[in-house]
């Protein structure tokens, strides 16, 4: 019975599946078929097993589970006939994968088949092994494969070579065994053996430095000869593609030569000639020829080629770039990306063509070209390139605008030499694609405007003009609102007019019109509306004649259904009505936003969380309302990211720091007398953050519980005293919830068998965010410490400033102390508790010691 023509039932099944009109029908047919196959398998029906596997392959391809057929594949493989084996191996490769235990069972059959006398059966086994073997199988069967590499039959040789690739990828230690057989494969004539051998050598180079040295020494000559032979060979019908003999072999050899020549001057020199020959002789009117040229260029770029050869390569790319075939242009752009590191001047010459590609109708080409343009920008060409890109932004596809905008913005930010240019370009981008501009980009613009007093008038006027034309771009609208609020009088009074500006007259009511139209426009979001309200409040003080109108507008929002707007409207309304005398100082211009703080913040949070960015932006403006003239922000001290702890988003340690917590637990457990299990303590530790936070409500019970939970960590005898202190502090805190400046109890921040650190806190009542911490270090061991250094790391929302310690010498047994003061600014005061990681380095009789810890038990309200 022939398994491949007896597929009547297979045919029927396929027909039945094709006739299905809905997915549900198809599922029903497949379910029925699977049931039939299962029962056939359980009846051990040998006659149908091959057909069952063929059906299962089809069902598998459609995406249905077929695991029940796996054992059947193994049975077929173990049977004697070639057709059964063949379908069995195919089923094995499709239905199984190396993670399944079934694979263990097949190792023996594979071993037998690898030793079979029939070359086709050996070929089947090699093919299966090459596709699915696991590391264990690779170790077991590597000797067989090595043996087969040396047989005479080319069909077995080529498959054994590719099988070896899989083996050395799985078990790189076996690479050296394959080195000399691989080298001898390169002397063959059969193209299949050659291509497989070249690929095996390439993989050997990748896994082992020794192998690549060996191949460099012994094979370069042979490879060059292979390349020469196929370049110059007469018409070979078997391997001919469009007049070129075996482009696949060409490409593989070029690739291996690239690996051998990379970073090696001698080899590079040796292969220079042949590369020049391939690059100049290969026909470029067919795809196959271009594929070779493409690979050849990459090899020239990858080795220590002579400058003449490089010029040849760049010229080929230039030709590719002007080709009408999009495929060729795509690979040219791809290749130029790599060439830019080798010879950026040469790539610059093609700038105009590349820029044209950015405007191509094909998304793949556009994407490549844009990335390339981004790499090409430098100080001299930034301006014309930006202009081109901005011009194109106007007409580009909606899908592409996002990518394009973000690239343009980073070019503008990176290469702006003068502020006016930067502001001009940003306003252009905002008005063309403001909806695609990321929040941190327009925040940066505001910071820049705030830092350029002589351009503020100009900025607000150009924004006003841009707004008139494109009021639907959200970020343009937001920047405009902010600037009108801040610099409204410059708009109306034409302050600081630059020579290039066209004169314009804007009345006070025009400015208010802008804000009112934004506020009432149906598509405006809450953030924008809130910004409008603040700007209006500011204008009411800048433009006294319009204050009546402003008041009216604000009053209409007192009944807003959006809580945020309602609250703002009510607050602002009462400021206007009842606090005329302090209003002008309340709504004074924002203090200049600190550029360096903003930049470092932006760099710090690369995954720029929009919400935090927003709160950063709005926090100062809110503060300026409440605290008359804003809070002067100290410059961020460089954070020593000791252990890369990021507490940004969660007040409790995240799961990534669990290992560290275990370390902490080890310390704790050795000291504690309690027999609590590790996980319990971990839970307790994790819960510290919560009770501390909810501490402002006078729930003493839960707070005490929270602090009791810390107990196991601290040393019992000292800790009891400390806890009483803590509770005292808490109790007083709880009973006077309205206390003006709470006294914060000192804490034992860290304690090990050798070292104790105590923190005490002071706070100035008018700066709730800032805390001064006095740290006291005590040596609990019997030996003195020298070179004592204390380091601390804090999450990104906290700023830390360490003052120098009073000494770096710590006498033994608590006979002396080091004190050190530092200042902490919690920018998220009231929302997130303090947290800190510490590292203490010191020397004991000239031996270096290191201790680390995490402090989560800061008193609440810091």
């Amino acid at each position: 019975m022939n398994p491949f023509s007896s597929g009547t039932r297979l045919r029927d099944m396929i027909k039945a599946i094709r006739a299905c009109k809905t997915a549900a029908e198809e599922r029903a047919v497949v379910r029925k078929e699977c049931a039939a196959i299962r029962s056939s398998i359980s009846e051990n029906d040998q006659d149908y097993s091959h057909r069952n596997i063929a059906k299962l392959m089809f069902i598998h391809m459609l995406g249905y589970p077929t695991h029940f057929g796996q054992m059947e594949c193994l049975k077929l493989i173990a049977s004697a006939g070639f057709p059964e084996k063949r379908i069995g191996y195919l089923g094995l490769m499709l239905l199984l994968d190396e993670r399944q235990e079934v694979l263990m069972l097949v190792t023996n059959s594979l071993k037998q088949d690898l030793g079979h006398t029939n070359q086709y059966i050996v070929g089947l086994a090699l093919c299966a092994l090459g596709n699915i073997c696991s590391a264990e199988m690779a170790r077991d069967l590597a000797p067989e494969v090595e043996r087969l590499l040396l047989t005479r039959d080319p069909n077995i040789k080529k498959k054994a070579a590719l099988c070896s690739i899989r083996i050395i990828r799985k078990v790189p230690d076996l690479a050296e065994n394959f080195l000399s057989p691989a080298t001898s494969l390169l002397k063959e004539k059969h193209h299949g053996v050659l291509i497989a051998g070249v690929q095996l050598c390439t993989d050997l180079c990748k896994v082992s430095e020794d192998a690549s040295n060996h191949l460099r020494k012994n094979c370069t000559e042979g490879l060059v000869r292979i390349l020469k032979d196929i370049c110059n060979s007469p018409y070979a019908p078997e391997y001919d593609i469009a007049g070129i003999t075996d482009p696949f072999l060409h490409i593989r050899v070029l690739r291996l030569l690239r690996m051998l020549g990379h970073g090696d001057a001698d080899t590079s020199e040796y292969i220079n000639d042949i590369l020049a020959q391939v690059a100049s002789k290969t026909e470029s009117n067919k795809n196959a020829g271009n594929a070779i040229l493409y690979e050849c260029v990459e090899t020239i770029m990858g080795i220590e080629a002579t400058s003449g050869l490089r010029v040849l390569a760049i010229n080929i790319l230039g030709r590719f770039l002007s080709n009408r075939d999009n495929n060729i242009r795509y690979v040219a752009l791809n290749m130029l990306m790599k060439a830019i590191s080798v010879d950026s001047q040469a790539v610059q010459r093609h700038r105009t063509t590349i820029l044209e590609c950015v405007k191509d109708s094909d998304a793949s080409i556009r994407k490549r070209a844009l990335e390339l343009v981004f790499l090409l920008v430098n100080d001299t060409n930034a301006k014309p390139l930006t202009k081109e890109l901005v011009d194109y932004l106007e007409v580009s596809d909606q899908d592409f605008k996002g990518d394009l905008t973000s690239k343009i913005c980073s070019i503008i930010e990176k290469f702006s030499q003068e502020k006016k240019w930067y502001i001009d370009q940003m306003v252009k981008v905002l008005s063309l694609a403001g909806n695609y501009v990321k929040d941190n980009v327009w925040h940066a613009l505001i910071v820049a405007i705030s830092n350029a007093p002589d351009l503020q008038g100009y900025s607000v006027r150009s924004l006003y003009k841009a707004f008139q034309l494109s009021s639907e771009q959200v970020s343009l609208v937001q920047v405009t609102i902010w600037c009108i609020g801040e610099y409204g009088e410059m708009l109306v009074n034409n302050v600081g007019v630059l020579q290039v500006e066209e004169p314009m007259t804007v009345t006070e009511s025009d400015a208010v019109d802008v804000l009112e139209s934004c506020l009432t426009h149906h598509s405006t979001d809450i953030t924008t509306q809130s910004m409008c309200l603040i700007a209006l409040l500011k204008l009411s003080s800048r433009f006294p004649p319009s204050s009546g109108r402003v008041k009216e507008i604000i009053t209409t929002h007192i009944g807003s259904v959006v809580l945020e707007l309602q609250q703002r409207a009510i607050e602002f309304n009462s400021i206007i009505q009842r606090h005329q005398n302090i209003k002008s100082s309340l709504v004074e211009r924002m203090p200049v936003l600190d550029e360096s703080t903003f930049i470092s913040k932006r760099a710090g949070s690369s995954q720029a969380n929009i919400s935090t960015e927003k709160s950063n932006q709005q926090l100062p403006s809110g503060a300026s309302l409440k605290l008359s003239n804003g809070v002067a922000k100290p410059a961020a001290s460089p954070l020593v990211d000791l252990l890369d702890l990021s507490l940004d988003d969660t007040p409790v340690p995240t799961s990534t720091s669990n290992d560290f917590l275990h370390d902490l637990l080890d310390v704790g457990l050795t000291n504690s007398s309690s027999s609590a299990s590790g996980t319990d303590i971990l839970m307790d530790l994790l819960s510290i953050g919560t009770p501390v936070q909810s501490n402002t409500t006078p729930e003493n019970g839960s707070s005490i519980k929270g602090f009791n939970d810390i107990l196991p960590i601290a040393k019992p005898n000292t800790a009891t005293v400390q806890v009483v202190d803590l509770l005292d502090g808490l109790a007083s805190n709880g009973s006077h919830p309205g206390a003006q400046s709470p006294v914060h109890p000192s804490i034992i921040a860290y304690q090990s068998s050798t070292l104790k650190i105590t923190f005490s806190f002071t706070k100035q009542p008018d700066k709730p965010q800032v805390t001064q911490i006095h740290a006291t270090f005590m040596n609990l061991s019997s030996e003195a410490y020298t070179d004592f250094i204390f380091q601390a790391a804090v999450p990104k929302f906290i700023q830390l400033h360490l003052d120098p310690a009073n000494s770096n010498h710590l006498p033994a047994s608590g006979n002396g102390r080091i004190t050190q003061t530092f200042t902490i600014t919690n920018t998220q005061h009231g929302q997130k508790p303090l947290a800190m990681r510490i590292r203490i380095a010191y020397k004991v009789s000239n031996q270096e010691r290191l201790e680390q810890g995490q402090i989560n038990n800061f008193p609440p309200g810091l």
């Binding site: 491949f4 195919l90 596709n131 078997e238 795809n287």
Partner: protein
């Protein structure tokens, strides 16, 4: 068993390290045949073990991406961390997933070679030939690609074992 685990840990390290240097590069990651309606007609994955759900999701995604493109657009689509090189023959799309450093033009040529080989065997191959002789299409592919590497490029060498077997039966 422990040894096995150790080895697999080691291997993972090597693979991760290798990703940068391209040690892990496979060449061809998968070969997919899809008709105009987006139905899979042949699927062969190399070294990439996907669950059924992952496979379905992947095939859906790339088919949507590639079939939406016009004739004039180039035959390469970047997807996740690799590229898809595709070519259309009448109602059938041949999609080949390759690593980023693979020669895209050569893969186009490879697709054509695969089609020509099937053409020589079936004689003017069509979608139904592949559907009803799925195993033969797989045998041919198996002779051409092993573990993501091209092993044979001569049509007669590829077809020899298949023809031999047909004669025998």
């Amino acid at each position: 068993m422990l040894g096995g685990q150790l080895i697999s840990v080691l291997r993972r390290e090597i693979v991760e390290e290798g990703d940068e240097k391209g040690v892990n590069s496979m060449g061809i990651r998968f070969v997919l045949l899809v008709n105009k309606q987006g139905q899979t007609r042949l699927a062969q994955y190399y070294a990439e073990h996907l669950t059924l759900d992952e496979r379905r999701a992947l095939e859906g995604e790339i088919v949507r991406k590639c079939l939406a493109r016009t004739e004039q657009q180039c035959s390469f689509v970047e997807h996740r961390n690799y590229k898809i090189v595709y070519r259309r023959y009448a109602s059938l799309f041949f999609l080949v997933g390759v690593d980023n450093d693979e020669n895209e033009l050569a893969i186009l040529e490879f697709i054509h070679l695969f089609v020509e080989t099937m053409d020589r065997h079936f004689g003017n191959v069509c979608e139904l030939d592949i559907m009803f002789h799925l195993e033969k299409a797989h045998f041919m592919l198996e002779e051409m690609v092993m573990n993501g590497c091209i092993v044979e490029t001569s049509k007669s060498n590829i077809l020899a074992p298949i023809q031999l077997m047909e004669k025998a039966s």
